[in-house]
């Protein structure tokens, strides 16, 4: 299906989110939309998929002007959107999820639906159990579910908004493989990302947005890669520098695990021995759900260990709660910023007041506001002391989260520190984290972005199905090696260490 | 999840509110406590005013208020009062205003007190306020004391009775009660003459002096007719009292009278005498009879109570408050109202004379001709001076209440400490 956008304008208050966008996407192509966060990509896609209405402009599908009033109307016209956060119903079974969102009979035909699901899965090589619960799925699996559902409902144009965020390398490969089958069926895919590398691998054409405007388009010349430098320049208006690797490893143990075992419903991690030194950055690599998340939370006292001892700065904290860890200089930053990290409805100032040690019973407002102003400036947060956190963009929420860390800290544990952020934010956030290292904090972080792990870690632990590798020296390993290991290959021995 | 729960919570709150707003409808009349009856005639601490000359027409219409414990149309206690008020309106041209379902804690008037509601009637012009329930006793006294210019009648109560236990000198408070002991005896007699199983159930309200005395009167009447007219052994008569906890059903707080009536029926009781303000006993008897199990009922309080189930109604002992209200309201109108206690017995010349007799008994359609004749005989005997409150009588726990040949004093009857020997059911002694 051919998609044409003509003269699209969209304002949010004074913010001109889309400024005269003209874009034609031929049928059966994979179109990349690049741009840093806030460039207007998501707005444009939401207009195309019926969540927003353009203030001006028109949309043509296969040459015919259409009016897309709602997501349901979009789907009817053949446009389906795969969201950054999949919109499924976690406590339900896959099959029910499927049935729920298909219109039709009052009494759904489960058997029939199961057959359809299995057929689709075969076609695209997915392997999900229709009777399993959605909340037991990984982000990648949920994505597969959503793709099947949209196909099932007859989508001919797929909009994928940052689809590689939060999924494993293998799932990403699978996703790309799936998307590459689309052109054969004349399905058009629109791939929205801020990751050059992904666009590079996948797309036939790419359009770059900056500050609401379409600033350039590029078409892949047969067999040749895109001109990366040119794309970066279009995205940022300048070339983005990557900070040189810096190591601040110091003397002194911050975290020592002796024979630690952790379990959750799905996997068991056995007998881990590990030590992190002050100033060190430890990256935890692994496919989603391989144990790194459980491990990270266990190091914070958020999950009880079932064996062994945990020492923070030589103090035994085994079995203590997170708040005890916190009092001993440990902080945990979750990936789900608005769900776990921040309190929607409260302002930035209130967050700082919560995070800092309370003095007395009554809040001193002026002190709080001053603190907020300082932190907002120091962390370059686009917001004011009274801004509610949910009104901030993702990157600014992450900065806010980071700005809540107390000083001094022994150990910072972070889930996906830069997921979904633009390159500028990524660089900024890591510069802030490295400052912590300089001050002697150790950092443990997990990420599904192997480049990030390799770039910022001093040592790396690889997780596979609950097994933990020996620490790898980041200087001496490579993305390829990590990629193999998270896929379960290349382990020298049966790793229990 | 949270959201859904909030919604559920919200709906629940609304539902509660609606329920609490609507629930009050169920209660019905109450009952008046005390008076006693049998032996004597009017016991007045101060002479009741006699009728005022009819010629005097007040410059402005006299307004009297009535605080009803139940709904005005409850086919029972409260309706009897309401109709007496109408009777007075008709004969004097005075105007009645009233509030229903009034008792402390009534969901109809949340957060208010009975005396406060009495004052609401005063604010609307009432110069005299009638409180119609034993449940109002303390609040009526408080009201009378705080509003000395307002004439107060408590239909029930003994605080104006100099010879009573609870006398309190309040110049603007009158206690009125009908001599329902006689009515209850007739009820008991009709029940005993009709029962085939020899089991009579008494659907009791709350327990206090008045209710013990009335239940016992019903028992005395039943025992007398059972032994004297049917020649049966008193030991063969089963008479059981089950109390619900208030004058009428308050869902969630009292026992459900419908349930109590059914328990009686299921246990083989075939006559239910009602001591409560409402007609559940009659209704359940009717249902049971329609289903093939013959059960009779004797309702209470209101002359028209049998209407709810004429085919199973043996008759109803009722209060006729009109004559006494008329006298007292006229006294208030002409300025001769004075505190006193009155206990008005049936007028034996014609117990159903609505202008004179304070207590009456209307025979029901289900009372057979033979029993009706015997009941008439019994009433005539009572009129002739038959006193059933006479020894030998023992209390429920076997202690002697009256020695052989001794007649009870009014105080002994009024403050009966327990049920009588031969009755089943809770007594709650002091």
């Amino acid at each position: 299906m051919k998609v044409e956008l003509r003269g699209i304008h969209k304002y949010f208050g004074k913010n001109h989110a889309n400024d005269d966008i003209n874009l034609t996407i031929p049928s059966g192509t994979i179109q990349g939309i690049l741009g840093e966060n806030g460039a207007g990509k998501s707005t444009l896609m939401k207009i195309l998929s019926g969540y927003f209405h353009a203030d001006q402009g028109e949309i043509l599908l296969d040459g015919k002007p259409v009016k897309i009033a709602s997501p349901a109307a979009a789907l009817q016209a053949g446009v389906g959107m795969l969201h950054q956060d999949p919109l499924d119903f976690p406590p339900m079974r896959i099959i029910d999820n499927f049935l729920l969102r298909t219109s039709g009979d009052f009494f759904p035909n489960r058997k029939h639906a199961a057959q359809d699901i299995n057929l689709l899965m075969k076609e695209f090589g997915f392997s999900l159990d229709p009777e399993s619960y959605v909340d037991s799925l990984t982000v990648g699996e949920r994505q597969q579910l959503e793709i099947m559902r949209l196909l099932f409902l007859g989508a001919r144009v797929f909009i994928l908004d940052e689809p590689t965020t939060g999924i494993s390398a293998a799932q990403k490969a699978k996703l790309f493989e799936t998307l590459k089958k689309f052109p054969e069926q004349a399905i058009t895919a629109i791939f929205v990302s801020h990751k050059l590398e992904d666009v590079e691998k996948l797309c036939d054409r790419v359009a770059v947005l900056r500050q609401g405007k379409l600033v350039g388009q590029m078409e892949r010349e047969q067999g040749k890669p895109f001109d990366n430098k040119k794309l970066v320049k279009m995205m940022f208006g300048k070339e983005a520098p990557l900070a040189p690797r810096q190591a601040y490893s110091q003397e002194g143990s911050v975290l020592r695990l002796n024979d630690v075992s952790v379990e959750d419903a799905r996997l068991k991690i056995r007998n881990v021995n590990f030590e992190a030194r002050a100033g060190e950055v430890i990256g935890l690599a692994g496919m989603e759900g391989s144990g790194q998340g459980v491990f990270l939370r266990a190091c914070a006292g958020l999950i009880r260990t079932v064996g062994g001892t945990v020492q923070v700065k030589e103090k035994d904290l085994t079995g203590k709660s997170y708040h005890v860890y916190k009092n001993n200089g440990v902080e945990f930053l979750p990936a789900a910023r608005l769900e776990e990290g921040l309190v929607p409805g409260l302002s930035l100032t209130e967050h700082f007041q919560l995070a800092e040690k309370a003095e007395g019973l009554f809040i001193k407002q002026d002190v709080g506001v001053k603190l907020a102003q300082e932190r907002i400036a120091a962390f370059n947060i686009k917001g004011t002391p009274v801004s509610a956190v949910e009104s901030l963009s993702g990157g600014n929420q992450q900065r806010a989260l980071l700005s809540l860390l107390r000083t001094p800290l022994s150990l910072v544990l972070i889930e996906h520190p830069t997921r979904g952020l633009d390159i500028e934010s990524v660089i900024y956030i890591w510069s802030k984290l490295k400052e912590r290292c300089k001050q002697g904090s150790a950092i443990l972080f997990m990420s599904s972005d192997l480049d990030e792990i390799l770039q910022y870690s001093d040592r790396i632990l690889v997780f596979f199905n609950g097994k933990v590798s020996q620490p790898l020296d980041a200087e001496k390993t490579s993305v390829a090696k990590l990629g193999e290991m998270i896929g379960g290959r290349g382990w020298q021995e049966e790793p229990t260490a | 999840m949270r959201n859904t729960l909030s919604k559920i919570a919200f709906i629940l709150v609304i539902a509660m509110l609606v329920l609490s707003a609507c629930a009050p409808k169920t209660p019905v009349a109450t009952e008046a406590p005390e008076t006693e009856a049998p032996p004597t005639e009017v016991v007045a601490t101060e002479a009741p005013a006699t009728e005022a000359p009819a010629t005097e027409v007040p410059a402005e219409q006299f307004v009297f208020g009535m605080i009803l414990v139940g709904p005005y149309n409850d086919h029972g206690w409260s309706q009897a009062h309401y109709e007496a008020g109408k009777y007075v309106e008709e004969l004097t041209g005075a105007k009645m205003i009233y509030l229903e379902n009034v008792y402390d804690g009534s969901p109809d008037h949340p957060g208010t007190t009975t005396s406060q509601l009495g004052e609401e009637l005063v604010a609307q012009g009432a110069k005299l306020v009638i409180f119609n329930s034993d449940a109002h006793q303390e609040e009526a006294i408080k009201f009378a004391e705080e509003n000395p210019e307002v004439k107060t009648i408590l239909a029930s109560g003994d605080s104006a009775w100099k010879e009573g236990k609870n006398f309190k000198e309040i110049p603007n408070l009158v206690n009125i009660m009908g001599g329902m002991e006689y009515g209850k005896m007739m009820a008991g007699c009709a029940a005993a003459l009709s029962t085939t199983s020899g089991q009579i159930g008494y659907l009791g309200p709350l327990i206090n002096d008045e209710t013990r005395r009335y239940a016992s009167s019903a028992y005395l009447g039943a025992k007398y007719c059972w032994t004297e007219y049917l020649g049966r052994d008193a030991a063969e008569l089963k008479f059981k009292v089950t109390w619900i906890g208030f004058w009428f059903n308050i869902p969630g707080f009292t026992s459900d009278p419908t349930q109590v009536a059914n328990d009686f029926i299921n246990q083989g009781y075939d006559v239910i005498i009602s001591g409560i303000d409402t007609t559940e006993g009659l209704t359940e008897a009717k249902k049971s009879t329609a289903a093939g199990k013959q059960v009779w009922a004797v309702p209470y309080d209101y002359i028209g109570s049998c209407e709810e189930g004429a085919e199973v109604c043996l008759g109803v002992p009722y209060f006729n408050w009109g004559p006494s209200y008329l006298v007292n309201i006229k006294a208030a109108m002409d300025g001769t109202f004075a505190a006193h206690f009155e206990l008005n017995n049936p007028d034996w010349a014609d117990i159903n004379n609505k202008d004179v007799s304070a207590v009456g008994f209307v025979k029901g359609a289900a009372l057979n001709a033979d029993a009706a004749a015997k009941l008439d005989e019994f009433i005539a005997a009572l009129a002739g001076g038959l006193n059933l409150w006479k020894g030998p009588l023992n209390l429920q726990d076997g202690t002697e209440y009256l020695a052989d040949g001794v007649e009870a004093t009014l105080q002994q009857i009024w403050y009966l400490p327990q049920l009588l020997e031969g009755m089943e059911g809770q007594s709650v002694s002091e």
């Binding site: 776990e340 919560l354 019973l361 | 509110l17 709350l206 206090n208 208030f246």
Partner: protein
């Protein structure tokens, strides 16, 4: 910003108008003239000083209850058990009075201890709901409903059992206290200035607690996002528990006022439904403590003014309950409409 406030206010006015329209329709269906009805409600509540004092008598327990509920609402808890907490407050108060009124304890001390006991009673009952939620995983809505029933059952048992009047078994209530331990009232009115003072202090405490203290801030954080609050260092279950107990203490105080200042004894329904009415008020004011003062006054005025309806217009006084309920429904509904409207307007801009 200013626009938002005006439109917000506009929607609220619209909600009030709609509630009045619905209530008027019901009045018309009942054969009454709505204007007459409203006039009588007004005259019956604010028409004279005496009426106003009666409104304040009803306002006191309602406002205290709302004060407590604002704490639990802030902590994201639906404390439906507030009715039971009022009842338990009433029971505990009655217990202390019965214990001390015939001893040589000075009446003032008896009163103070009784009120304190009421607060403790309410707080402990609330703690039970909190414990069921925290340790038993029983949602506070269901736990609270259950505990309400238990509290009512306890009242019934006490009135028919250990605390029955001599020779009497009636749900009408326990024996009235000695007059020496009644809260003194002002002049001829039923209004106790002590009770009024406690109500005002209660709402002020809650105002400052929620606006200006770390405790209030943490409660809000727990209410809005317990996971994040925990990670930010707030001991979440302890704070939930504290919210329950604070609310319970206020509810217990309301119960104590019902016992000490209104009925002077324990009656079957000592809470007078103020718990549920309080939930409505708290929902209506949407966490804004200041607004709870006039809104609770308005609801109390409806309760008192409504007495006129059966006297003068022969209407059921529960009609005011319909007005209260529809008001809340429409305000909540309008809030939803407003949000949708603003969102659309936002997109249009």
């Amino acid at each position: 910003m200013k626009n938002t406030r005006i439109s917000n206010f506009g929607f609220q006015i619209l909600a009030v108008v709609l509630a009045l329209v619905v209530t008027s329709l019901i009045l018309i269906a009942a054969g009454a003239n709505p204007l007459d009805a409203y006039k009588n409600i007004y005259a019956g509540s604010f028409g004279s000083f005496e009426k106003l004092s009666d409104v304040l008598v009803a306002w006191i327990p309602l406002l205290i209850t709302v004060a407590g509920l604002l704490v639990t609402f802030s902590a994201g808890l639906w404390n439906i058990g507030v009715e039971g907490q009022i009842i338990m407050g009433g029971i505990a108060t009655t217990w202390i009075v019965r214990l001390l009124q015939d001893t040589t304890t000075p009446p003032a001390l008896t009163i103070a201890l009784a009120i304190l006991a009421g607060m403790i009673g309410g707080a402990l009952w609330a703690a039970l709901a909190g414990a069921l939620k925290t340790f038993g995983g029983v949602n506070e809505i269901f736990g609270g409903l259950g505990l309400n029933f238990v509290a009512t059952a306890a009242t019934i048992w006490l009135i028919f059992g250990p605390w029955k009047r001599p020779g009497v078994a009636s749900i009408a209530g326990t024996e009235a206290f000695n007059e020496s331990v009644w809260l003194p009232t002002m002049g001829d009115t039923r209004l106790s200035l002590w009770a009024l003072g406690l109500a005002i202090v209660s709402i002020m405490i809650v105002y400052f607690l929620l606006q200006g203290t770390y405790i209030g801030l943490r409660l809000k954080a727990v209410g809005k996002n317990p996971k994040a609050a925990y990670l930010l260092g707030v001991p979440t279950w302890q704070y939930s528990m504290m919210a329950f107990m604070l609310c319970g203490a206020f509810a217990g105080l309301a119960g104590a006022m019902q016992v000490m200042a209104v009925y002077h004894r324990l009656i079957g329904s000592i809470s007078s439904g103020y718990g549920f009415l309080g939930l409505l008020v708290a929902m209506l004011v949407n966490y804004q403590v200041i607004w709870s003062v006039p809104v609770a006054l308005f609801f109390a005025a409806l309760n008192i003014g409504g007495i006129q309806l059966p006297i003068i217009l022969k209407l059921d006084s529960s009609i005011t309950g319909i007005l209260q309920g529809t008001l809340v429904l429409f305000v909540l509904m309008m809030e939803g409409v407003r949000q949708r409207f603003m969102k659309r307007a936002g997109e249009k801009q």
